[in-house]
């Protein structure tokens, strides 16, 4: 079958990074083509080139066999190529209908034809199976619904090619299965779908073909049926991967974190304990209050009741500075918004919470700082050309390691809270982070892991607490925990 879109021998260089080295890629009508690879392999660059958002130095972009001039996202959309990005790009204060036809509102003599807009929107919304009033403000929709609005927007542009970048990263299992239904329907209607995901089960559930990128080069394109999970991972990381989880269960030590009756505006009466060397997981659906527990413990949300002790010492409410001093660190879920300092280098990002340790009489001793940071960077195998490299240029997995290093550099660290430790991180780096968390527990750190991925919690944690509606609804020991039991407590 003739490909709808074809990229041939694409080369793309960024300052200091050779992002794509002569990549060939094609999409056929009526197929789901999965694009996989570790972070930094070049997936995002390839998507952006398809979308016309970045240029390339060498190579050819062809549509239906003819060379195409795609120099801007508008060009791509005009030719029927639409992208649903990982970070949704909607105007939250506008209505669903306005978002779908954003920039293309039906009008006559400068006046918007609202009735027609809502009628047309209702039609596209029906196509994607979203039952909302087109006049609803987008901000009032959940993430899953917002994503469907984005897809509806793409369909309303007569998209023949739909690119979906990590579409399920914020969805619940039932929302995911609905999305899959939609993807399959679109495929039957002849749409070509480029599907990017880190979740291998999804790829085997959906894809017809799989292309694997590694270090900016294509290492394989083959039918999904010819691959299995182990082979696919092998292709992605270029080496056989060891056991994903290597958790060694050990008895806990002294209490590292004690929370008693904690309440904030969003969580109620939370009590739990984490011992030194223990990994305690928090499970629950989106919005169940998992992240809010961490925020309450740290004092980011106002504490209405309850006590928190870190290493036996009382943590005063409303003070992250005190939390840092007592040895409580948080690696947040939203890496870019709440974790990294995008304009600073890797080294300065890592050392920011431990600068007093490297200072004498108020002055930082640069040599000692660099040595300590370099040691952590080596230990965590952060891949960066130098400590001065701007952190925003690293892949998600490497940024995550730097954020973990930030807390490991603190000598007095007692408890580390990690919120969604592997969100947006590829398989190879995932295994490394799991190994690292296990190792840290082995060294006597208390760990709290908040995650929406059940296999991750089951593989890592000694104990899993399940939340629902801002309360803890149950606790399962490692030996008794199963996906079914966790879900039963969460629903």
């Amino acid at each position: 079958m003739e490909p709808l879109v074809e990229l041939r021998g694409i080369h793309k260089q960024y300052p200091g990074v050779y992002a794509l080295k002569g990549v060939d890629f094609d999409l056929r009508p009526g197929e789901v083509h999965a694009l996989v690879g570790e972070n930094g392999a070049g997936k995002s660059t390839l998507i952006k080139i398809l979308a016309g958002a970045v240029s390339f130095e060498q190579g050819e972009y062809r549509i239906e066999g003819k060379p195409a001039q795609i120099h801007s996202p508008q060009d791509a959309i005009r030719r029927g190529i639409s992208v649903v990005y990982q970070e949704l790009e909607l105007a939250p204060r506008l209505s669903v209908a306005e978002n779908i036809f954003f920039g293309r509102l039906p009008s006559r003599r400068g006046r918007v034809l609202w009735a027609q807009l809502y009628r047309d929107s209702a039609l596209v919304l029906e196509q994607v199976g979203l039952e909302v009033d087109p006049e609803t403000e987008v901000a009032r929709l959940g993430i899953a619904a917002q994503q469907l609005v984005e897809i509806a927007r793409a369909l309303s542009c007569q998209a023949r090619v739909l690119v979906m970048d990590e579409p399920t990263s914020a969805l619940t299992p039932s929302e995911i299965s609905r999305l899959f239904g939609l993807v399959r329907r679109l495929r039957e209607q002849g749409t070509a779908i480029l599907y990017v995901s880190h979740k291998l089960q999804e790829i085997f559930a959906l894809a017809d073909r799989v292309t694997v990128l590694r270090d900016g080069a294509r290492v394989a394109t083959s039918g999904a049926g010819e691959l299995d999970e182990a082979r696919l991972i092998g292709l992605m990381v270029g080496r056989p991967l060891g056991e994903m989880f290597s958790r060694r269960h050990r008895p806990g030590g002294a209490p590292a974190l004690e929370v008693e009756g904690l309440s904030t505006a969003r969580v109620r009466d939370i009590s739990f304990q984490v011992r030194a060397g223990e990994i305690v997981g928090f499970s629950g659906l989106m919005g169940a209050g998992r992240t809010e527990v961490a925020r309450g413990v740290l004092g980011l949300d106002r504490r209405l009741a309850g006590r928190v002790r870190v290493g036996g010492e009382e943590l005063p409410p409303d003070s992250c500075a005190a939390a840092r001093r007592l040895g409580l660190g948080l690696v947040p879920e939203d890496r870019r918004g709440e974790g990294i300092f995008p304009q600073l280098g890797v080294g300065h990002n890592a050392s920011i919470a431990a600068l007093e340790q490297f200072s004498r009489r108020g002055w930082i001793e640069g040599g000692r700082e660099r040595e300590a940071v370099a040691a952590q960077v080596r230990r965590l195998e952060v891949r960066t050309p130098s400590l001065g490299q701007r952190i925003s240029l690293l892949s998600g997995g490497n940024q995550q390691k730097v954020l973990i290093a930030r807390w490991l550099l603190r000598q007095a660290l007692v408890v580390l809270v990690v919120d969604e430790p592997t969100r947006g991180i590829d398989v190879g780096a995932r295994a490394e982070i799991y190994r690292l968390l296990d190792e840290l527990a082995g060294q006597g750190l208390g760990l709290v892991v908040i995650s929406s991925e059940l296999p991750e919690l089951l593989g890592l944690c000694d104990r899993i607490l399940v939340m629902k509606g801002g309360r803890i609804t149950g606790a399962l020991e490692r030996a008794e925990a199963t996906q079914e039991k966790l879900l039963a407590l969460a629903l």
Binding site: A322, G337, P342, L344, S359, W363, I364
Partner: protein, 316 residues
């Protein structure tokens, strides 16, 4: 060595080049420009902007802005001269001036950190209040200094260099070290770069911002004191538009209005460029109305360059 190479390749090279070019053009147009007396004048003018500019850099790095620096030139200058005339003590006048600057800065800082008012608005308000206060307090009449030796601060020399130049240079060195080699300096970059992340990392975000405003207030007051000494008077219309000159100069020097990015070295170059430009316009006998036009153009140019740089970074 590595640092030197980076310096030569980066934005700062462009600034040095612009400064040299400007100097070359001016020395070709008027022989007076390169005379020792004139160069000393340029440095003396630059030092006033530079002293207040250090405070501005700190505030902007923290992701905020301080528009009150100009009006505080008037209020602080008047207070200093009044104190001086009353007490006859230069030291007391200086301490009074710095104290007043500290209060102004703390006031701005509390409005921003405690009351949660956007710093552009908060300091726009205090700028108007201070200017109005200076006019009301003096009935819009200047107050002459009556103590001998006061003018020495602004016009005297230490060795071959004007006193304000020496003060500015020492402060530049001090704050260069503070910004790059103390935890507080690093925190400042972090807070301006991503306040939310800074809070999660346990940095005292509000305290740092408050301290930045306080410092800006004190340094603006120091420059006000020197200005009053040069004029030997406290003038209610002193420092009109001064804050914009300071902001334009440091932004031109690569200090980003979005916070968390920029260096004192760059800011210093920006300040020199702006001062040389002003000086050139005076030497060439251009009407002072055109100075405003030139200044406005530089401000727009500076912010345009800042935007371009931000976009360039966004692409990578």
């Amino acid at each position: 060595m590595e640092r030197l190479r980076r310096l030569l390749r980066g934005e700062q090279a462009a600034l040095v080049l612009a400064l040299l070019l400007l100097c070359a053009v001016l020395s070709a147009l008027t022989p007076v420009f390169l005379s020792a007396a004139n160069l000393k004048n340029v440095l003396r003018d630059a030092s006033l902007i530079a002293i207040a500019g250090i405070g501005m850099v700190v505030v902007i790095l923290a992701g905020e802005i301080d528009l009150s620096a100009g009006s505080s030139q008037a209020v602080v200058g008047i207070l200093a001269v009044l104190l001086l005339n009353e007490s006859g003590s230069l030291l007391l006048a200086l301490l009074g001036a710095l104290g007043a600057g500290l209060l102004i800065g703390l006031g701005n800082g509390l409005l921003v950190t405690r009351a949660g008012i956007n710093s552009l608005i908060a300091t726009l308000g205090s700028m108007a209040i201070l200017r109005g206060g200076a006019m009301v307090g003096t009935q819009a009449v200047s107050i002459q200094g009556q103590v001998e030796g006061f003018t020495e601060v602004g016009t005297g020399h230490w060795g071959p260099l004007p006193i304000p130049v020496v003060i500015a240079a020492l402060l530049f060195l001090l704050f260069y070290l503070v910004l790059h080699h103390t935890p507080a300096g690093r925190y400042l970059y972090a807070v301006g770069g991503n306040a939310q992340a800074a809070r999660l990392a346990g940095l005292p975000v509000e305290k740092l911002k408050l301290a930045a405003f306080a410092l800006s207030g004190v340094l603006a007051a120091l420059s006000a004191f020197i200005l009053a000494s040069r004029l030997n008077s406290g003038q209610p219309n002193a420092g009109l538009g001064f804050e914009l000159q300071v902001i334009a100069a440091v932004v031109l020097g690569g200090v980003s209005l979005s916070g968390g990015l920029g260096t004192l070295v760059g800011a210093g170059l920006g300040i020199l460029i702006l001062t040389v430009l002003n000086n050139g316009l005076v030497l060439l006998d251009v009407s002072s109305f055109y100075h405003d036009i030139a200044r406005g153009t530089v401000i727009i140019l500076a912010v345009y360059l800042d935007t371009r740089r931000r976009q360039a970074r966004g692409r990578v």
